[in-house]
Structure formats: C-alpha cells, structure tokens
Amino acid sequence: MSIKRRDVLRGASLTAAGLLVPPLAAPFIRTARAASPVRVGVLFSLTGGLSIIEKSLSDATLMAISEINAAGGVMGEKVEVVQEDGASDPKTYNEKASKLIVEDDIPTVFGGYTSASRKAVLPVFEKRDRMFFYPTYYEGYECSKNVVYTGAVPNQQLSNFIPWIVKTLGKKKFFIVGSNYIYPREMSKVCKILMKQNGAEWVADEYLELGHSEWGSMVNKIKNSGCDAVLSNVVGDSVVAFYREYKNQGISHEKLPICATVTSEIEIAAMGPEYAVGSYTSFPYFMAIDTPRNKAFVQRYRAFVKDPKAVTHHALESAYFQVFLWKQAVEKAKSVKPDAVREAVRGQTYAAPGGDVKVDVDNLHTWLTPRIAQWQADGQGKIVNAYPHPIKPLPYVAYGETDTNLYCTSKGLDVAKLRARH
C-alpha cells in the first residue's frame, strides 16, 4: 500500500515536473515561425461563459480567412492566423492582446465581443498603434483611430425601430429593461430621445445584473406597469429566461410585444421559438435575409462548423465580412502596416451576406442597413421593415451628432462640439 502510494506520488511529481518544464523554458525559446508576411491575430473567448457567442464569432473569422486563403490569399500570400483565447475575462483579453501585439508583432487583430473586453484591450492597441477589427454592435461614444467598428451603433439599431413601433404598431408607452452595464444604459438613452421625438413615453427604465435569470418580479412589474410595449436591451443568457417567464406569466407578444435590440437567432433557438413568436428585434442582419448570397453564406458556415443546425447572426456576419474589408484595404495599400491599413480601409465597400457595407471615411465605423424582424415559429425573423440602403454610423448620436454635424472625424474627436453639448 505504502509503496503504491509512493509510486503514485512519484508519478504525480514527475507529471508536475513535465508540465512545468516546457512552460518555464518557453519565454527563452524563440520558436522559428514560418514567417508569412501576412499575419493576423484572432482574439475571442473560446472558454468561459461568453464563449457561447464568441466561439461562433471566432469560427466566422476563421472561415473568412480560410476562404481568402483558398482563393489565393492576400497579395499572393497565405494569411497566417495567430489565435488566442480571451477566456471571457478582461484580464486575459488584455494579456493576450499584448501577447499578439508586443510578442508576436502582429499589425491587425480581429476580435472582441463585450465592451469590457474592448475597453481592456484598447490601450494596448493605441499605445503601439495597431489595428483592431471589432465586429460587435456597441454603445458608441468612442472614436479610436485604432479600431474599425463593423457592428451597429445605436443609431443603426434604433433610428428606424422606435418610430416604426410608435407609428406602425401604435405603441405609446414603453417599459425599458436591460442588463446592468454600459451598452443597455446607453441604448436606453438613445431610445428616450427617439421616444420624445415621436411622441411616445416610457413608464420605467429597469436594469438587471448581467447573467441574472430570475425574472419573476421584473415580468410581474411589466405586467402591472400599464405599458403597451417592452423595449429590451437584455443581453446574453438572461434573454432566454426573460422570454420564457414572459410567456409563462400569460403575456402575449400580440398585445404587449417585446421589441429587442440584442435578441438574436442564437437566443431564439435556445429558448424555443414558441416563446418569441410575434416579438421584434432590430439588427442590420438576420439569418432570414432572402438573398442567394446570404443563403450560400449560411450553408458555407454550417459546413465550416460541421453543424447542420448552426445559426448565423449579426455579430457573426460582421466578424465574417470585416476580414474581407481588411483584405481589400491591404491590397489597396499594398501593405499590412497599421497606418496603411487604416487609411486604405476608409471608404472600403464590400458585398456582405446581408447586403452592401461600407467603412465610413470619417469615423471608421460601418455603414449598415437597419432592419426590423418579427420572430416566426420556425425561429427565423420575418423582415417587416428595412431601410432601402445602408445608413451612416453615428457613434455620438446620443450627444447630438447628426449626419451633417459629425463629432468623430478622421482628425479625431472634435472636443468642442461635445463640450458645447454638456
């Protein structure tokens, strides 16, 4: 018995030693890399809670790169990927970003999902002047020359949404509910401006901890609030519990629809479409967009991830097309250098799966087409309203920015305009 234990102990210590030695040596060994001149970083969470979404963004990015490589690469060179795991933790995001930039000397990184992750990596990109392609819809109020934002900003999700709810659905009293962090709070701010403009009002503006899944009292409040529509900025896995509780408390989307800004195909599939039928979401991209290009995209994605039931969604589409925007910029500039890419990417257009997109020449955000969908029993959105063309991104719309009065331009943020506003 004692011999056995000692053996086990020895085995364990050997294992431990074996595990420890290579990492200890790692910083001192410079592995010889097959140095492709075109290297990019991919930084999403593959572990931790946020991997439920970020894994799909990572897959879409890798799929775009493999398609580019299959078609001959960029400037005749195969794109080499250095991938890292953000682990759903801003600390890790920050560390891996600096690994990609400082250690691996990579000029451009695709990645990021939450605002917290973007904020944690931003200083790394700005201090070393590298480019970060960020595919997620976010709250705006940012004007970094080191980030290309390919997701929607509030005006691209809300400028048609609120007027449409008020005019077409005839709703006048909103209950605003969101997860307790910056994106929902900022969205609610823009919503309120638009509600005022359209002659509607809000009866409540409530927040729940991110990841909270006990919706009993909140839904009860909604029921008793006298509102006629719910504007939901609820994020992540809370969404599923929310819609289920909603139906289970006997509320129907026909009378009191949830109009959401974050609920995507992923959450609908997870909750079961029967809970969402009749509710609305505003996004620039839906899986249901009925064009051959999009259908082909969905099929390619499903084949790529080897899952015949996989769904696509807005951030995923952005994660995919932003790689092509980068490719075009590199080819235009004939260089992968951050400066060159930044200048070349301004004004780039691309025929994305969901329609044409364009990087704004001023603020490096992306022109997207706002769309409103009503969820159907098959888990797909039926597009009930759409802009005829992509609209200009306005990251400072909550502070009075308009198409003709830009705060964020290629020269940077115009502080005077923001100051006048305060």
Binding site: L46, T47, G48, G49, S51, I52, K55, S56, N180, E206, Y207, L208, E209, G211, H212, S213, E214, G216, S217, M218, N220, K221, K223, D237, S238, V239, V240, A241, R244, E245, K247, N248, Q249, G250, I266, E267, A269, A270, M271, G272, E274, Y275, V305, K306, D307, K309
Partner: protein
C-alpha cells in the same frame, strides 16, 4: 400582494431545489462540493441530449437525469472525494477543479471536438429544451395569472424535500447516514458500512442536483457555465439554514426567497440581490451556526 408572495415562494423553491443536494453532501458528509452546480448543468444537458437522441420528453428526463448525475456523483466520490473526508477546505478546492473539468468536458464535447466530431446538444453554445405545452403559460387562480411552470417547480421541490426527509428520518439508510453525520468512527464501530453509505449519500445528493438541472433547463438557459452561480446561492442557503439541518435549509430558502422576491418587487432586482447577501452575512455573524443547528462532525 399575493403575486409577490407567490414569486417569493417560487424563488425560494428554486433555491431549495439546488440547496437540497448540497444540504445532503455538505450537511451530512462535510464535503463542500463546488461541482454541485455542474451536476445541475449535467442534469440540464441530460434533458437536452435525451430530447435529441432518445426523443424522450421533458418529464421522462427527470428519472434519467437523476440516474446520470447520481452515477457521475458516485464516480467523483470514488475517485476524489473519498480521499478527502475530514479535509473540508480541500474538498472545496478539489471539487472546484472537477467543476472546471466538467464544464470543459461539455464544452469540448468530451474531447471529440478535437477530432472534428460534433455531438448535437453539446459544445459551447446555448441549448434548447422543449417544455411540454401543459407546463407553459399561466392559469387563472383567484383572478390572478399564475405561472404554471413555477407551480410545477414548487410541487417538485416539495416532493423531493418530502422524499429526502422520508429517506433521512424513516429508513434504515437514513438512520445510518445520520449516525455517520454525528460520529463516523462510532458509526463504523457499530457496523455501519461508512464507505458505502457515504458513496450512496453523495450519489443521492448529486442525483437531486440532476433533477434540479432538468427543472432549470425548462426556464433558464442551458450552457456549460450555468451552474457556477447556482452553487454559491445553494451554499448560502445551506449555511444560513444551519449545516446538516434539512428543516433549516427549507426555512432559509423560504426566507431568502421571500426577501429576494419582495425587495425585487418593491424596488429592483439588483438591490434585492444586495439585500440577500447582506442578510446572509448578518445571519452568520449573529448565529454562526445557522438558524437551525446541531453539533455534528
């Protein structure tokens, strides 16, 4: 008012559902099982997988989830926990490691994703569980809409609590478990097969977590990390109730549920959480042994 009480009751029953298994493994066995939340998660995934691969309905998954998680619990007890009895805080650390392993196992589809193989129902994404229509929506009770699913959860929790009470206080095995709780050596001297009873107890506690998982899958989201926050709430309930006291767990789950529900209804959910945490701290400071307690090992 009635609505608020119902919400509180329902929050309490959900807390109790998770805490019940912990009250057994921690209270009776002195094992801080941080992987308990992952047992809930496995129960939920059992429901998902049973639906996809065996075409089993939601209700039929309940016994299946119990068996699956009980077996996993048994394996954990055999391989890890058994060596750690009496080292309370070490059980916490080791089971924390197990929790990470289980999460990753589900996320990586037990390693198959490395070979490009995918199993539907596993992986990092959100999963869907179909709830029978009879358990969705609301019924009218006394002029109020009452959430059927929550009624169902309250019923299941009550039944499981009664069953657990019966096992603990009215069967031979229960007597042996309680003997071990009070003095394992003495129990062994009296002919109780301590190893066997410990293994069974741990398996039963894990099985209860599995059933909790089925219940959760019907109204929360199923994903690999879903259990992490639940285990914390569960521990707060058990410690506030008094370690080793089933009645204490029931009482404290009810108390914390009502406090959470009513504060959330009157003000907001964030404040409700804060008040619950504050209350827990206060209760432990005033009564370190919990609301109901006896001296155990």
């Amino acid at each position: 008012m009635l609505e608020i009480i119902f919400i509180g009751l329902s929050v309490g029953s959900i807390l109790l559902l998770v805490a019940l298994g912990l009250a057994i493994t921690y209270g009776a066995m002195g094992v801080i099982n941080m992987a308990h939340g992952e047992m809930v998660m496995l129960g939920a995934y059992t429901t998902v997988m049973a639906g996809i691969w065996l075409h089993l309905g939601f209700l039929a998954s309940i016994p299946l989830a119990f068996v699956v998680t009980a077996l996993v619990g048994l394996a954990i007890e055999r391989v890890v926990v058994r060596r750690l009895y009496g080292r309370l805080l070490d059980t916490l650390l080791a089971t924390w490691g197990i929790a990470i392993l289980l999460q990753q196992a589900v996320r990586l589809e037990f390693g198959l994703s490395f070979f490009g193989k995918h199993i539907r129902g596993l992986g990092p994404g959100l999963q869907n569980v179909t709830v029978p229509p009879a358990l969705t929506g609301a019924i009218m009770v006394g002029g109020e809409d009452v959430n059927v699913y929550r009624l169902f959860i309250i019923g299941v929790t009550a039944a499981l609590t009664a069953l657990t009470w019966f096992i603990m206080y009215r069967t031979d095995i229960g007597i042996q478990v309680r003997a071990i709780m009070r003095n394992p050596r003495m129990a062994a001297a009296c002919g109780v097969n301590v190893q066997r009873i410990n293994a069974l107890t741990f398996a039963y506690g894990s099985g209860l977590a599995g059933i909790a998982g089925v219940m959760m899958s019907g109204f929360k989201t199923v994903f690999p990390d879903m259990g992490t926050s639940m285990v914390v709430d569960g521990f707060l309930v058990v410690v506030v109730g008094g370690v080793g006291s089933l009645l204490g767990a029931v009482f404290s789950a009810g108390l914390l549920g009502q406090v959470d529900g009513s504060v959330a209804s009157l003000t907001n959910d964030v404040l409700a959480r804060a008040v619950v945490f504050g209350l827990v701290i206060l209760i432990i400071v005033i009564r370190p042994t919990g609301l109901f307690s006896f001296k155990g090992r």
